[in-house]
Symmetry: C2
């Protein structure tokens, strides 16, 4: 058995990233890496993923040092998933210059019996069929969150809808929410998502933060304003990982806990974007986290208004 209480399925990759002022090559990345590192500050998680035989040992060491369980990380002959992206002046926009799937192209998640009863599951953005395979492989009834992307909305909408029907929390950006549902307002899109199955839709709004929407409640968390954003890569995955890490830690699925969890998501994402790769996120102390929670709380507090 494992003592992990959060299972994270997704990509592990090497990224070459260009911004307007900087460039880094073949640094550690991937949705499962960002989300598990965010969760590592809160709970004990296990990654389900695959790397090639070129995956640097130092990355494995770093993840293990953060108590991330790599039992379900497969190592296959071949190349690790590689992504090369370039951010525009407006860092909300980026262009993909190259993608090499490598061993990720043939990835088949395997969930050993030791990990099939983990109570919290985060399906990061991968092919919806793989997300379904993982759902089928789980033996317990985990609390499930899933992320996706416009690629799957366009190419495999039916599979994606099957996933959505089986998850408790769906992460989407506002454009994706509208695409999936055909609704024109974010709230109506969230209503439609909730009608499909999830109890909560999490609408990611990039540097404007995120919204949680359930049948009866709405919560908004701003992103923490930063003087310098060095690299937004992984911010969404970090948000999801921080959020799921907190829910797993608290072992509570109430909307009140999800609000706090979303705050943790915003806080963790604010570390990720301050440096390339996991450079900042992997070196966060509990005091750093507490300070940013407080900063985020103060950001929206106002005194009573008499009208």
């Amino acid at each position: 058995m494992t003592d992990s209480n959060l299972l994270i399925v997704g990509s592990i990759g090497l990224d070459t990233i260009e911004t307007q002022s900087d460039k880094v090559e073949r640094v550690l990345g991937g949705a499962a890496v960002y989300s598990s590192c965010a969760a590592a500050n809160l709970t004990h998680s296990a990654i389900v993923g695959v790397v090639g035989d070129d995956f640097p040992a130092e990355h494995e060491t770093m993840l293990k040092n953060k108590n991330i369980d790599l039992t379900c990380m497969q190592k296959k002959p071949g190349k690790t998933f590689f992504w090369h992206g370039r951010y525009r002046d407006d860092m909300n926009e980026r262009d993909t210059l190259d993608t090499q799937l490598g061993v990720f192209g043939e990835f088949k998640p395997e969930i050993p019996a030791s990990h099939a009863n983990i109570p919290y599951l985060f399906l990061a953005n991968i092919h919806p069929q793989l997300q379904l395979d993982v759902l089928d492989a789980m033996q317990g009834k985990p609390f499930v969150a899933a992320d996706s992307m416009n690629l799957w909305i366009d190419t495999t909408p039916d599979l994606l809808k099957q996933v959505i029907r089986r998850v408790d929390v769906l992460f989407v950006n506002d454009e994706e929410a509208k695409m999936i549902t055909g609704q024109s307002s974010v709230l109506r899109a969230a209503d439609a998502i909730i009608a499909m199955g999830p109890s909560v839709a999490v609408i990611k709004k990039g540097d404007a933060g995120a919204m949680l929407i359930s049948r009866d409640d709405v919560f908004a968390t701003p992103a923490i304003p930063l003087r310098e954003v060095k690299d937004p890569t992984g911010a969404g995955d970090t948000f999801a990982g921080g959020m799921m890490g907190y829910i797993a830690r608290q072992n509570d699925r109430s909307f009140e806990t999800m609000k706090q969890a979303a705050v943790l998501g915003s806080v963790m994402a604010s570390f990720t974007v301050e440096d390339f790769s996991l450079n900042r996120l992997a070196n966060v102390s509990p005091d750093d986290v507490r300070e940013r929670i407080e900063r985020l709380r103060c950001l929206t507090v106002f005194k009573d208004i008499e009208i």
Copy 2:
């Protein structure tokens, strides 16, 4: 003398507006109209503007019924300013199909002695030279807020900078803030704006709300999530009018008051976008306002987090 304590300078217009599902023709609009109607729920304001002899009497009646002082609204032979716009599927984007300046093209704001000592001044988006003329015409030392647009950043940047140096609060969207200052992050852009003169930069983020930034403080107010946005026209002007209306009402320029004021701005803007023209905003009750303030407060409140 006037009993107005907020002077608002800007356009008064007739708008033809198309959305994906609706169209209205020659309805009341203009920055000074939206902002004064937002402020009318909070304080007594006066409009400085111009209309043509085609301006419907019913609009004048409506504004007067809201206790808006029209002493400084000029009536000239000719056509009232006309704008025709069409919103895209994503209502954050719109195309201008027609603009006819009419009498607004020759507009020269005139501030009679009775109005030259009004303590709060909002310069809505008009040519920066006119904004400077109004500043020169004021006899007291009003607390001044100004709005602008990318057109003036492109065509008359030096005049615009002269305006910025003389105002206390600058309203801009995030893209404009970056354009004006050449900075790549919103916070650094705000720092640069504050270095030019204003004590507070208000960064408008459309349906993601707004941020107030001073030398020492940051405040974020989300927009109130709505199931249906019918017409976003005037939302920014409404936000500014609601904010300035509250500051004038409280007669207090502290950051604490500005935070509350920004909340009022968000609340008023949420009414504007629910219907075309002033249809909803002009019919808001104090209870409506209180209910939305509470809704906005609840939107971001979370319980203490132990890490």
